[in-house]
Symmetry: C4
Subunit: 274 residues, 4 copies
């Protein structure tokens, strides 16, 4: 389709760019909405296709719908490439890669039958949903969360290293205590048990049988139950501090720390800049 | 029963309204208390009726009690309609609909036998309990929670969208990794597994068997264990800020929610009383 | 044993009171320590006695030890009654009742064999441990927690009522959706399932089998996973506010809000009263 | 190897100390990186050695690799001893003991075959990782967490004592209610069940069968679900307060940890720089 590009004069490309990449115009919003509906619908088709009871009677319809959506998204992908200023930059960006991965599995499934279920990666395209839903506020909230998580990443990393060390140690000790005859068949599997237990998931597919093992498991559980307080505390403390600060300062007395909904300085009563 | 209304002169309707809809008078409180006891008792009857061992010997008693309470609540419903100024507005409100749904299943059960268990919806009527239990303070606390949750709704929505995308992706990948022979019979069921795992519920009805599947499941568990910190942090940060606001209201614009160190109203700039 | 009391002259009763009820003197501390060791040891004996493999060979020893500790605690209980000013007030207090319940089961077991395991109630006597472990600070911390929980009790009650209503509703709907053939044998049992799921315990003894049931269960899980944020937020907000305030005010500028470890006013630098 | 030490002249020992114990020089960083890779690799070998399917074909290679790493770490241990000023102090420190325990199991395995899996204790050596990863910031974050946890340790202890008492009591009562025929074979095992339930792990290997037992279990679950709010609240409140403290230090007494609105040092009362 690159041969089409020379035929496009600037206004048409600009109009296409407006519709496909922006969400300010009426047409842009309609396009985004249509896209979201198509994505959701196509993901549902992939899901239903995996259900054996539905595959037998409706398999053919699913097959056709999959190709329909794949061709649709392929056209859209090519249009995106054709109307953007720097197509390579788009193709290499997060959304560009997701857009490509959203159509590739169908073509690949001609060679590898199972691969078509990878189409669910299309769901990542829904992240575009923010653009439609009055984006500014939501993007603001998402950025707020992102910044708080970024600020606490080192503490989280220290915590994670500590937890992983604990899981490896507890898993290994349980392997020695319980042994293969009680389901702890190897150290990696015992570590899997430690993760299942410490995160309080507790499938019960592997569970300690000996008295010593149950005593040790109790310790692991109480630890796992308790130390969730640490990451929660880290994130909360960060969010609380972020929450309490706007970066706005009073034009008269220079005081900071105003609530997000404040119109007047709480110290001197002067009007704040919006 | 609308034919009764013309017989009612104003003072009787007013008295009825006081008893049924208000909780300030002695009679109103007694009525509410009686109502709560009836609701609890009638819900218990519905529950016990569903127990097979009790159904055989006491089924007849349960049947009669159900009709007794249904008739009682029907009379109450009609009285409510008859003594309120705008009956249609009440009938369309949340409580009005709940009140109707609380009696409808018994009548429906004459046609559809299983429907009677829908009577447990009566328990929603207990939300009226706030009116009796020294309402002002409790309603205040409930509103406080509601406002904090409302203020953080966008962040929660962003978080939920993110979590649901993760669940769909992890579920689909696990379907490819484990496959139908290990209980991951379809993508929807694999997503169900991802939800069971990520929320740390962990029934164990479906659990990964392969090494790769267990490694991936470990990742899902640690993620699920950790990211609970995010909604907790969001709600806590919001509540902490609300908590620190004073009950002081502005003498000029009556706005509330001022910080403890505020001298001026943040909305209109008027001086606050110390 | 009330006949002994007249023989006791005041100084002996006072000395006994010092040893048994106080922890300031050397003798009082030793007595408390000995008591704690006896309590732990006697509870361990009761626990081991319940293990079938140990009951056969050591049952006789356990039996004798139980009677030994019961007689010991009986003597202690009578001494407590004899040396306190108002024995009835003590007997009716929380600790007095626990002390009596700690010895009664052994005597009752002469009539009712199984009752002896109720002796584990003795473990509640360990709450006295605070008296020994440098009590002032720990009691302070416990009070701090108690006050924060007390301040947030109404919000917690509102939350609990809301959660219980949800559990009853979800449990009932699941009874209709899944039915007795999938383990949801009655509404109370279905509510039990809803509690197991919403609290993220997830035994897996009852789990949904139908597609609709699993979809509904997914909703219950995500709700249960998410709303834990609410009580956590409530308690945390309360604790954060408590944490940040000492009730101390500056003797010079009357400013409040000093850190617990502050010696000087942070605003004017004046020395604070300790 | 102490006979070697007299041969070492000061500059060589100093250089060795720089490489092995410090991470400031290029050589020191390379050594630490090499050490971390060796530790991870040797732990992976121990883990894989425990997998029966891999043990049969690759057992010999694992055996040789284990001895290779053990000899490597032995040489490193001896070098550490030889180049440090006070070797006994190092040998008795946390890292010294871990270093010894990281090589001992291989030698012990000549006598006790199973003991070799204790080699996973080597993973604790990874705590040294902080030295390499731009240590200052991470150590700062770790210290920050440590200080907050230290400040809240008494509240956590009070909470833990309370929770353990609850677990013992609930476990014992469930033993009486459910009895050995439903899997609650002894009081210790019933306490194990209470821990599994209250921490919301919920294996399902033991679960209540009677109506009374399920009602009681529901109470235990709701309690366990709710009271996680308490340690989370404690840690969060502590971290939030720490978070809000400035990095400002007093110009007179160098004390840190001042509130953002402080004008004077809270310890000595000196004026702080704005």
């Amino acid at each position: 389709m690159p041969e089409q590009r020379p035929q496009l004069n600037n206004p048409i490309r600009q109009r296409l760019h407006e519709i496909i990449f922006e969400a300010d115009t009426q047409a842009g919003k309609r396009f985004d909405l249509l896209l979201i509906v198509s994505i959701v619908f196509s993901v549902v088709v992939v899901m239903l296709d995996s259900v054996a009871e539905l595959q037998v009677p409706y398999g053919k319809i699913f097959y056709r719908l999959e190709w329909f959506f794949t061709l649709l998204f392929t056209v859209e992908y090519l249009l995106r490439l054709s109307c953007i200023g720097r197509p390579l930059k788009y193709a290499g960006s997060f959304y560009g890669v997701v857009d490509l991965l959203s159509i590739a599995p169908t073509y690949l499934s001609l060679l590898l039958p199972g691969g078509k279920y990878l189409l669910v990666i299309r769901i990542l395209r829904l992240l575009r949903v923010f653009r439609v839903l009055k984006l500014v506020q939501y993007v603001g909230e998402a950025n707020y969360l992102k910044r708080a998580l970024h600020a606490s990443r080192r503490k989280i990393q220290v915590f994670l290293l500590f937890v992983v060390l604990l899981m490896v140690l507890f898993g290994s000790v349980m392997y020695l205590v319980e042994g293969p005859e009680h389901g702890f068949t190897s150290i990696p599997r015992s570590i899997y048990w430690a993760i299942v237990t410490m995160t309080t998931v507790g499938y019960g597919d592997i569970s300690p049988q000996t008295d010593l093992g149950q005593a040790l498991a109790s310790l692991v559980m109480i630890l796992g139950y308790g130390i969730i307080a640490i990451p929660t505390g880290i994130v909360t403390a960060e969010l609380t501090v972020f929450q309490q600060l706007t970066t706005q300062s009073c034009p008269q007395c220079s005081a900071e720390g105003h609530a997000p909904d404040a119109n007047h300085c709480k110290y001197c009563g002067a009007k704040l800049n919006p």
